[in-house]
Symmetry: C2
Subunit: 215 residues, 2 copies
């Protein structure tokens, strides 16, 4: 499978590396064409790794993964040709964190809207699946870093797309995946950031996750 | 100990009943003086139960518990005499849920502020501790309804007040209580409502809770 991973930061690097390690061809997209992080990544990856602009990565991928910084994701995604997104699964991993007003960051969009929904509105023909945004990037691709049972949340409007993403997440090692429903549930998972950030400070490690315990 | 429980709904009834069962004197406060739910509760409780206005309950209690509907809590609390609140622990159990724009409710305040902080600002001399707002009211007073290990979150500016509330919560049966820091962390726990509400629909039971699993 061909993946277009948008974003060259820690999250993009983790996801792109995992996808390539699973035998996929991956194009890492960045704002400009001469992104040093993307080029260094391609050198490490060998034949399964490519780099290009956001638009080129979107054209390349059968499946797209938004790993751009959440507060700038819409701006980044607007550089794509809509024809390169239509009909494709777009996994949105980003959180719209805004640190411009101090730490911990607040959300630049929340409550009655979310980044996931905003992306779905911008690309109505895409199959947006919100996933992986509730754990640290190293846990995303290696859930065993957190011992025992813990849960990943996904949501999206397209059932088949969620099923395909679930299959991929199981390849990443995820065992318990809770489908929260349509893309409006991106509000729910993005709003886990405030407690996630405080727990991170409190626990002194990013290797933690939520488990839903029920009767 | 004397408690003033503000609010006569399901949450107020659960908390007031538990506090009375633990041997405390409890005054359940309501908007008007002739609240039927409060009077019926007093009849069931016998000598440990009293009823009055919000202001009378606040005067009565050594410790106050805000169980009013979160989107109207500030309005309700503004009927109290500030002298009856100053220096006291005020446990804020409410979530600022607003269902006026449809279901699931959104938050009437969130992200860069919270109900817990708003109450602390309104009563700077009170020791506001946010607690219990992340579980269903029956789980609040009987955490064993959810099997195994799961966590309760508290926050507030006053360490001694948090310690006293922690002692009370242990009497309720809570074993794992995570202190998230000062009252600004009320943002984090109140923003668990969007995922809590979706999980409630998804799981078909309110007997569930969050567990933080860590390495």
């Amino acid at each position: 499978m061909r993946y277009g991973v948008l974003g060259t930061g820690m999250v993009g690097q983790e996801i792109a590396t995992k996808l390539a390690a699973l035998g996929n061809e991956v194009c890492m997209g960045s704002r400009g064409q001469d992104n040093k992080q993307a080029k260094a990544w391609v050198e490490r990856m060998g034949k399964n790794g490519k780099t290009g602009t956001f638009a080129e990565a979107a054209r390349f991928g059968d499946v797209l993964v938004n790993c751009t910084q959440g507060s700038h994701s819409l701006e980044a995604l607007r550089t794509l040709d809509k024809n390169d997104v239509s009909g494709k699964i777009l996994i949105d991993v980003a959180n719209p964190l805004d640190a411009s007003r101090g730490m911990p960051p607040i959300l630049s969009i929340c409550n009655s809207d979310s980044l996931g929904e905003s992306i779905q509105r911008e690309f109505p023909e895409a199959k947006v699946v919100k996933a992986l945004n509730t754990v640290n990037c190293r846990v995303m691709t290696d859930p065993k870093r957190v011992p025992g049972e813990h849960d990943l949340f996904i949501c999206g409007n397209d059932q088949a797309a969620k099923k395909a993403v679930t299959t991929l997440l199981r390849e990443f090692g995820w065992k318990s995946i809770i489908d929260l429903g349509d893309i409006t549930s991106a509000r729910a998972t993005e709003q886990l950031m405030p407690i996630w950030l405080r727990l991170w400070g409190n626990l002194g490690t990013a290797d933690f996750n939520f488990r839903i315990v029920r009767a």
